[in-house]
Amino acid sequence: MRRTVFPHRLLPWLLLAPQLAITLIFFYWPAAQAFRQSMLKEDPFGLSSTFVGLANFRKVLSDPNYLNSVQVTAVFSASVAFLAMSIALFLAVQAEKIIRGKGFYRTLMIWPYAVAPAIAGMLWLFMFNPSFGTLARPLRVMGINWNPLLNADHAMILIIAAATWKQISYNFLFFVAGLQAIPRSLLEAAAIDGASRRHSFWTITFPLLAPTTFFLLVVNTVYALFDTFGIIHAVTGGGPGKATETLVYKVYNDGFVNLIMGESAAQSVILMVIVIALTAFQFRFIERRVHYG
């Protein structure tokens, strides 16, 4: 490989500077601030602050509410990532089969992605609000005592559905692209050999989609962990009880509603560590088993 040689030593740094500045100001600086604050016990106005070392972390990690939040997050993220990806894959495969109106169908599928999380949350809230929701009434008629305001499982189902619905489009887009990259000849050869459609999907299409699936797994996990705040905020606000309080929501609630700055900062540092670990794990261990075409 030929190395590009810049005429001046300063030029590459100059070209990199804007990106570096953005990274430093918007990522490293806040992260450093979070680290600093996680070691302090402070009143909301920052009038008095005492260094408490790792006391905030000890308190957070021994708080049963925090452990509950970890559990809620695990259930929520795993469900959203799995459902959003499997439904999107199913729809992408079905969309491939259509001959007429492919573009139209695909465009419709992509639309929900353009909806802001808070708006998506409101949409689902309006459909499933126990008192005025248009879809809550049929559920009642069917004999289901639908009440996400008090029933923890119903609340969880509702936010999973809303978060999944919003992410399907994105996954769909990538799966469609992934499917188009699979050589026709392989599938035709399998058909000639007498493989059933289902068989050729699991033995040819699915393994060849692995890079896409892996990429989406990372993206979806991060999405479920971080980008679903708006939906949870709009639909359940973490309730009932603490049944839908994910880790990110708890950071917000403790820091910005309850004004416990130190513990909230400690939680965001823990989150940072979780994300770094998760990404590293996915790239080290799962990626090895992925065959890039």
Binding site: L47, L150, N253, N258, I260
Partner: protein, 432 residues
């Protein structure tokens, strides 16, 4: 082209010189809709009334968002001059000694006379120190009242002109509404924390917490007392029967009422606007009390928000703030605020003037919260509640109440948990 640009630049440079040198005063607020128009009107009227100061109101989002914005701005050394903070944030502001400047001090230094006796005692008392120094200026105050749907009452065979006065009567009426099929839900309520816990305690003259409910020192919650347990036990029973429907932690339940789903609602007097707008045939009554409580009904406590003056500003700014508060206390301004926004007047004179104008004969609902709040001189149980972390305490209570209403625990357990968890959180904060 170049000439025009130059000309523009010249004009821009000249502008600050031509503008009159009025001192700018920033006011961050959280008012929306009709109430935001009231803020704008008051500010522009104040600016027109004098030329030394220019008041600039800035909308900063919901109550918690405004508080957070103010805190963040203070930490960055960019705090506004005046900040509107909701009742729940009062304890937080009071704890921030160096960040704020007491309103009584601002008024005195600004050369304005401040006569406490002119103000409604119940409201001003809530925003003062135990020693009686007024810390913030009560801008918008409200109190919980009872609303009922007259059409549903008629259908259920209930007395349309006599709303239930006690909780026992509310439960009976609510059951009748459900049983007769007049509506699917008998009763609903917004804010279980503010109405059924804090105001329930004051109205029935029982202690919400030690140290005069936290007004005189660090509070220890007493919300697991027998009267609370009895009340929440009854509420949980109604929920089980489907007579009481839970709407949510804040004011969501208003919708269950305006949609005709529920026959009776307890809500803030400030919620009247939406109920009027829905066009329903509604009636209004006092907040119900528990007839087994001695001395009930006592008085209710104010909700709403007050204006805090931030510390570290110039004397010029404080003079302007003092002038604005003096203007805001004027009878005609208070009367305008009261009649337009539905919030309570803060001066006796404004109340008397509104009464004399015949406003209450046309709008009886507007007087109910005032009578409730100042009907009796407050006791140590009914001056209000204060805690350094009231938002967190309410959060904890909501969680426990929701578990109770879902049938996961009984009322006694819910209240015991709420008190214990709340007290642990208070100890944590105060290092006790």
């Amino acid at each position: 082209m170049k000439k025009t640009a130059l000309w523009c630049a010249g004009l821009m440079a000249a502008l600050p010189l031509s503008a009159h040198a009025a001192t700018e005063i920033s006011w961050w607020h959280a008012m929306t809709g009709a109430n935001a128009e009231v803020v704008t009107k008051i500010a522009s009227d104040f600016n027109a009334s004098q030329s030394e100061y220019e008041l600039k109101p800035v909308f900063k989002g919901t109550y918690p968002e405004t508080l957070n914005a103010g805190i963040a701005a203070f930490r960055a050394g960019q705090a506004p001059d005046i900040m509107q903070v909701f009742d729940v944030g009062t304890g937080v502001m009071m704890g921030a000694k160096g960040a704020i400047k007491p309103v009584a001090e601002v008024l005195k230094e600004g050369g304005q006379t401040f006569d406490k006796s002119q103000y409604l005692a119940g409201i001003v008392g809530y925003y003062s120190t135990p020693e009686g120094e007024m810390l913030s200026f009560p801008y918008n105050s409200s109190s919980p009242i009872l609303y009922y749907n007259k059409d549903i009452f008629a259908k259920a065979g209930l007395d349309v002109d006599n709303p239930p006065k006690t909780w026992a009567e509310v439960w009976a009426a609510a059951r009748k509404i459900k049983e007769s099929g007049a509506a699917t839900c008998g009763y609903t309520s917004t804010w279980l924390t503010w109405i059924h816990t804090e105001n329930f305690a004051a109205w029935n003259n029982v202690s919400w917490a030690t140290n005069e409910n936290g007004l005189a020192g660090v509070p220890e919650l007493k919300i697991d007392g027998p009267l609370f347990v009895k009340h929440f036990h009854e509420l949980a029973d109604l929920a089980k029967e489907g007579v009481f429907v839970y709407g949510g932690r804040t004011s969501e339940a208003k919708q269950n009422f305006t949609s005709g789903e529920c026959g009776i609602l307890t809500e803030s007097s400030g919620g009247l606007g939406d109920i009027v707008k829905s066009g329903m045939n509604y009636g209004i009554g006092q907040l119900p009390y528990d007839e087994t409580a001695a001395g009930a009904p006592q008085n209710t406590t104010p909700g709403g928000a007050s204006l805090w003056v931030m510390g570290g500003k110039s004397d010029e700014v404080y003079k302007g703030v003092a002038a604005f508060f003096a203007y805001l206390s004027k009878t005609e301004v208070q009367q305008f605020l009261h009649e337009q926004s539905g919030y309570l007047p803060v001066t006796m004179a404004a109340y008397e003037a509104t009464k004399a104008s015949g406003f209450y004969e046309k709008n009886p609902a507007r007087e109910v919260p005032i009578l409730q709040m100042s009907g009796k001189p407050p006791t140590e149980n009914s001056k209000g509640v204060r805690a350094p972390n009231l938002p967190q305490l309410r959060d904890i209570q909501n969680e426990e109440y929701e578990k109770m209403l879902a049938g996961q625990q009984d009322a006694a357990t819910a209240l015991k948990n709420a008190a214990e968890r709340g007290n642990a959180a208070i100890r944590d904060l105060t290092g006790g």
